[in-house]
Amino acid sequence: MYYYGLAVIRRVSPVGSKKVFHMPRDASTDKPLVELVNVAKIYPPDIVALEDVSLRIYKGEIFFLTGMSGAGKTTLIKLICRLETPTRGLIEVAGRDLSRISPAGIQRMRQKIGIAYQDFRLLEKQTVLQNIAMAMEVTYASTKAIHARVDELLALLNLSDKRDKLTGELSRGEQQRVALARAAANGPSLLLADEPTGNLDPAATELVINLFRHLNEKNGSTIVVATHDKSIYAETEHRVMDLRKGHLSAHPNRAPRQIELFEA
C-alpha cells in the first residue's frame, strides 16, 4: 500500500495563530523536493526500522512526522540526508537519486539541508557562536555574514545573551535551540528537525515554531518535523503523517480535508 499526501491548499501557523501562508499549490503537478519510493531499512540482524515507505514532500511544505519512540522517525530523517542508506527502495532529493550522488555531492547537498539532531550534536567546549558558525563556515561564508546571521537567529530563539557561552554550560532546552539555530543558519532549502521541542517549555516551543515559520516564509524552506509532541501539530493544517512500526500512514486524528490519501 503506497500513500502520498497532497499538499494543503491553505496553510496556517502550526500553533494557534491563524496567519495564512501564501503557498497555494497543486501538488499533483509539482515535483517533490523529497521522494521516497518503497523504502525499507533493516538493521542487522533483522530489526525492521522502516517497511515499504513511500512519501512525497513538496517544496515549501511543512511536514510533520509523528510516531512513538522507536517508530522509525529518526531513521527516516537520516535516510533523507543520507546518514543512513536504505536496505531497499529509492530516495530522491531535489530530483536526484541519493544512491547515485558522489560523496562530494552528498556533502554539498548537506550544506543546503539543515539538520537538528535529537541529541543536538554540539561541541560542548565551544561557544554558542562557534557552534552555529560552523554550519556557515563550511560554505565559506564571510565572518561578517556569519556574525550577522548568528545574531539574528539567537534573537529569534531568545538566546542573544548566551552568544559567547560554552554550549556545555547551557540547559538542555537552550542546547536544543542552539542546535536548531545551527540547522537554520544557512537558510536551508530543507530543514530536518528530529524532536525539536523535546526539552522545551511551551514558551520556547513557540519560539521554535516561529523560527520554522520564519524560515518557511522568508526562505521558502521545506520543513520536516519528526515529533511526538502533539502541541506543535495539533492545530496545524499542514500535513501530518504517522509512523508506526516502520509503516507510514495518515495521522489518525487528521481531518480528511487536510490530509488526502490516494493509493499510488
Binding site: 546518514l83 554539498r108 548537506r110 550534536r121
Partner: protein, 295 residues
Amino acid sequence: MHFLAYIVRQTGKNLRQTWGTQVMTLLTVTLSVLLFAFFFLIYTNMLRASARLGDDLRLIVYLDQEIPEQKRPEIEKKIRDFGPVEKIIFVSRTEAFSRLSAQLDKEKDVLNDLGPDFLPPSIEVYPLKNLQDLTKISQFSDFLLTLPHAAKVQSGSDWLRRFGDFTNLLQVVVLLSGVLLIISMTFIISYTLRLTVVSRQGELEILRLLGATSAYIRLPLLLEGMLQGFLGSSLGLGALYLLYQWIASRFSGPGFLNLFDFAFFPPELTAAILLASVVLCTGGSLFSIRRFIRI
C-alpha cells in the same frame, strides 16, 4: 578569498590546539634536517676537494741518472703510447735543486753545504684530468717504473685511496642520515596529524554532518604538514649556516678549511633540501589524512 582565509585560520587553530606536540615535531624535523644537512655539507665539500686533488694529480718518476736530451722524445712517446697525458716535464738535478731552493726561500741557507747534484733527476707526468680511477693510476704508476733508469714512482695514490675511502664512508653516513630524515619526517608528521585528528574527532564528525567538503577538512591538515616541513627545514638549515659561519670564523686562515675550500650549500641546493623537506612532511600528512579521515 574566504576559502583561503578559512584554511589559514583553521590551520592556526589546529596548531594551537596541539601546540606541545607541534613544538616537539618541529624540533624533530629541525634536528633531522640539521643532521642530514651537516653530513651532506661535509660530503659535498669532500667531493669537491677530491675533484680538485684529481685535477692536481701528477706522477713523479725519480731516475737514477739523467736522461740525455736526444733520448727524451723516445721516452715521452713511450709514455704517451701507454695513456693520455696532458704534459710531461723532464726535471734535471740542477732544476730540482733550484726549485727546492726557491721553495725554501729565506731558509735556503740550509742547502749551502749540499751540492746541486744531491737531488735525483725526475720526469713529471701529468695525466689528463679524466684519470681519477685509482686502479688506472696504479697501472700507470707500474708502467712508469719500467722506464729506463726509473728508480721510484711517486703517485700519491695511497693518499688518494684513503681519501676516497673516507669519502665513501661519508656517502654511507649521508645516505643513512637521509633515510633517517625520511623516516622521522614522514612518521613524526603522520603521528602529529593523527593526534590533531583525534583531538578534533568530534568536531570533524559534526563538520561531516554539516556538509564540510573533503577540501575543507583536509587542506588545513595538509597545510599543517607543509608548514612543519618548511619551518623545520628552515630552522635546521639556518642552524647549520650559523654553525658553518662559526667554524669559518674560528678556523679562517691557512689550515684545514682553506685546504678544502670549505663552502656552504649553493642557493639551489638549499632550496632543494627545503623543498624535499616540505614534500616529505606533506607526504606524511597525506598518509595520515588518508588513513584516519573518512569523508
